[in-house]
Symmetry: C2
Subunit: 248 residues, 2 copies
Amino acid sequence: MPDNSPSVKVSAVRDTYGAEVRFCKPTQEAREAMSAAVVAELRAKHGEERAEEIHPNQDVRVVNGQGSVAMELLEQQPDLDALVVSIGGGGLIGGVATYAKSVNSKIKIIGAEPECAKSAFMSKKAGHLVTNPPNAVIDTIADSVKSSLGPTTYPLVRDLVDDVFTASEQEIEDATKFMMERAKQVVEPGCGLAVAVATSGQLYQRYPDLRKVGVVLCGGNVDLENLPWCRKRKADATAQPPGKATKV
Amino acid sequence: MPDNSPSVKVSAVRDTYGAEVRFCKPTQEAREAMSAAVVAELRAKHGEERAEEIHPNQDVRVVNGQGSVAMELLEQQPDLDALVVSIGGGGLIGGVATYAKSVNSKIKIIGAEPECAKSAFMSKKAGHLVTNPPNAVIDTIADSVKSSLGPTTYPLVRDLVDDVFTASEQEIEDATKFMMERAKQVVEPGCGLAVAVATSGQLYQRYPDLRKVGVVLCGGNVDLENLPWCRKRKADATAQPPGKATKV
């Protein structure tokens, strides 16, 4: 795991699910290197066939598995006009779109991205895969959707996702807080993102016929010691008041 | 509403449910006076029969209504050995116990109270109604259960509640956080209280036969700008380090 992962995510993986956690720097290169090293170590120990790297969003088995989200949702609520899904690497929306369109070709699949990490939005516009800047450069509270589309998910998004909307940082934060305050559901900003798009005026302006809209709530790994709105308040408190020079 | 109500509770009542909110001091006397004044005003305006004070936990209609919580819970999960319910005024546990015992005389009804506001615990021990100190004096994060049992609920707790356990402030806080981190459910400390008792060793030491235990999650009105664990951290930060005198 990247060494800047939210502590709640680390402790869930380690303490609740019993995993051994190895940390690496939060860059793509460090993550790939660590992953390769762990796979090599396990293969050396247990044999070639006992260890395999599974990409979290470009492995087609992961994408297919995530399609089961749409299966459960549409079993419970078959008459949805649209599904709104957050996009990072595109695995979740790829699986959801593949299943949902296969059982209901009329259902709209809507993607949601932060304004500062809109790989899917840009890719659809350009007609080819456009990736986000490196993770470290992207400044969004929705840290779970910083990844870009990849070779497996770009074609799925291109062909099966009807539209992609972006949300501002403030809209993501407001929707995340709304879910916790009103729906009493702990969600992470990468999930509040989909709620922000599903409740935004833009969506219904462009698609005035939407009546029943489903939203996939895709994660609740928030650090409760450090919620986005508390983080900001702390930053405000330590910031210099505007126009005031520092005297040393 | 008392003028120290969590802002999330005020805005839910006013903005989401459209109520007009009148504030009073957070004392029993001020609350009763404000309530009587509002009833008098409404009667003068709309007629004697159009306004009535309904006590939030001693009115038998409220207690009966809260029994529907147990009805729904036992419809979904009929084979519970016990139900754990937080106690403030005792309306919720009174209704729950009345219903649950009427359909299953063997089910254990367990009450949960903060160590510093244990009206039901003390009343059962004494064999008569014992009330808590005034609200303003009680120092618990579980602000929704500061009330004492009353004339309607004391006999119900005496006769139908099998046992009452108390939890410390730290246990209440830990259980509240656990519900949010792991169950992804936003709960208020007055609800975390019941989780604390349901997951405590004491309960299973005294009742080793309990296998399936239901917990009533009774509220999620938490101020997300001011969570208990963040509040404490703030207090720690502003406190003087021990043994250090202040220089003026």
